[in-house]
Symmetry: C2
């Protein structure tokens, strides 16, 4: 999470679900309370550390998704891919993970076993090792089945130099695939809505795509992010504010499945605010944009990647979409939390 | 946690509090279920990783202590010192921490602020930086106020080579100070017992002591451990099993405060099973033992360190105490969990 030009104060008297949304309330909590006390821990970015000649990326996430299993994945798989992806979009090859479990007494051993297997399989697929961890148990009723925290360490590729400050007007916005699948899948899996769709979570490691980009267009890579909580809109708003530039998105170029669009229309949600767990955004220099798109599309699962917009000068700090009919709308960060416990 | 010579199978159908105790049930869960699926994640040890010419130690812990604040410390302080100490007893200088928070909706912002300040202060005292983290919020009733997971990275000192396999008969057991303060403090702080004592948690970073040992007796350092959950008895039983040697402890040499001894007598507990959060055990070659003791005692807070026993050949895998009266008793690992949620 990038720093606001104006200092933010946290005045809320108690914690609400929205503080975990990844949107505006999360930003207030992190920038107004956590960062001033702890120094400058980032919410979304991996921290970079030079040690013994190597440039390391470090990141940590907690996972509290509900339900534990859903079409396309489970908490164990998210707990690997979420952390791997934070490393990947920092330009770091994921190396090792640590996984801590908080278990609720009474949790079925089968459920735990299934999630351990999901962690193991996802780690093997992502090419990382789970090198350690810890297990705590709390009384029945004091947790919700199973929470996982994962931290990861990666080796930053020396060819990339990613920063919001490197972004320039004219740069292109590359999106790796359709948005909103994860968030809407979780929403439907809760069964609270009278909706059905043959949708599944997009949870996957994005490292193969990032690796392909590094191999082909490293000098053109400016900035990357995996748009999880708060969605593409929140990630790009953070970039726009930090770079003090604007992002113009072409409405019709943004890939959204019919099922996601339909559910969002019924629920009054914007697909740009919905969480993804297997997509990433890359800002790429204009002369590298087509090669970048080709590189991502050549990797299995990357066929739906699109160039969805470009960086422009004004209005600074704003993300907006334009349609082929000429209409335009401003896309703000997520406010509140319409979909709590999405990851 | 070291590997048992006989494979352990996990046959329990559901998770119980004892699986988080650090004792026998934890061992069964880790060795019987987690390690076979994930590879070989250790419960207590930091994982070692060679990266870019540096030898790194990585460790992660979750903290679910109840109550959040207690005499001598709080969950935020534990979340720093617990992770720092895992690195220290691996012979690694703690460098950086990542901290993830799971918050229960409704948590007072003041309580959160106090714990963030505790994290910040403990990190400064321990000489580490909190470089990143993550925050999730779950609904009221789905967590117990605040859980913290911390992971840490340290730089292994090239002068030390710690392993159970380096331990030899004749080696001495050094203990850094009185045992059981933390566990009994938590128990009393819950107010469920009609006991009072002017006791406080021993939570602190043990790195200054470890650093002094490395500076003075590095070639004589064989093995170290911070005896948290499961206490000194569990840590030494794990060593005895892995090294296939015995540990003879001199009952009267083990420092235990009167308040801890008294509470343990009333409750039928053994101080050797009670958790510590600011102590460590070092196994030291006999020719280095006195110098090691002096080195620890010279550091502020190390005046109560003692040599409490020695490594002997038989009975292999057993920890036992002897008293000056000639009596002897076997000290097993912790069984069950008389004190859940101690850290």
């Amino acid at each position: 999470m990038t720093k606001s030009p104006v200092p933010i104060r946290f005045k809320d008297t108690q914690i609400e679900l929205a503080h975990g949304s990844g949107g505006k309330a999360s930003r207030r909590l992190v920038e107004g309370l956590i960062a001033p006390i702890l120094g400058n821990p980032s919410l979304d970015d991996a921290a970079l550390l030079s040690l013994g000649g190597a440039s390391l990326a470090l990141t940590a996430d907690s996972f509290v998704v509900k339900p534990l299993r859903f079409p396309g994945g489970s908490i164990g798989e998210l707990a690997v891919n979420g952390t791997v992806n934070d490393l990947a979009v920092s330009g770091a090859r994921p190396i090792a993970l640590l996984s801590t479990l908080i278990l609720e007494a009474g949790l079925s051993a089968q459920v735990l076993q299934a999630e351990l297997q999901a962690i193991g399989q996802a780690a093997r697929r992502a090419g990382v090792q789970v090198v350690g961890g810890d297990t705590k148990v709390v009384e029945h009723g004091k947790a919700d089945g199973l929470f996982i925290s994962t931290s990861g360490i990666g080796l930053v590729d020396a060819r990339v130099n990613l920063a919001a400050s490197s972004v320039r007007p004219g740069d292109k916005v590359l999106l790796s695939g359709p948005i909103g699948d994860h968030g809407i899948t979780i929403l439907l899996a809760r069964g609270e809505l009278d909706l059905e769709a043959s949708l599944k979570s997009d949870t996957r490691s994005v490292w193969p795509f990032v690796e392909a980009l590094i191999e082909t267009v490293a000098p053109g890579l400016r900035w990357m992010r995996d748009p999880t909580r708060g969605g593409v809109a929140t990630a790009l708003n953070e970039l726009a504010r930090e770079a003090q530039l604007a992002l113009r998105l072409y409405e019709e170029h943004i890939p959204v499945r019919d099922e996601v669009r339909g559910a969002c229309e019924i629920l009054g949600l914007d697909p740009l605010h919905i969480a993804n767990e297997g997509q990433f955004i890359a800002i790429v220099g204009p002369e590298y944009a087509e090669a970048a798109l080709e590189a991502v599309r050549r990797v299995a699962g990357g066929q739906e990647a699109r160039l969805i917009g470009e960086v422009v000068e004004t209005p600074a700090g704003v993300v907006y979409t334009v349609s082929s009919y000429g209409s335009s709308r401003v896309v703000d960060m997520l406010v509140g939390d319409p979909l709590p416990r999405i990851c």
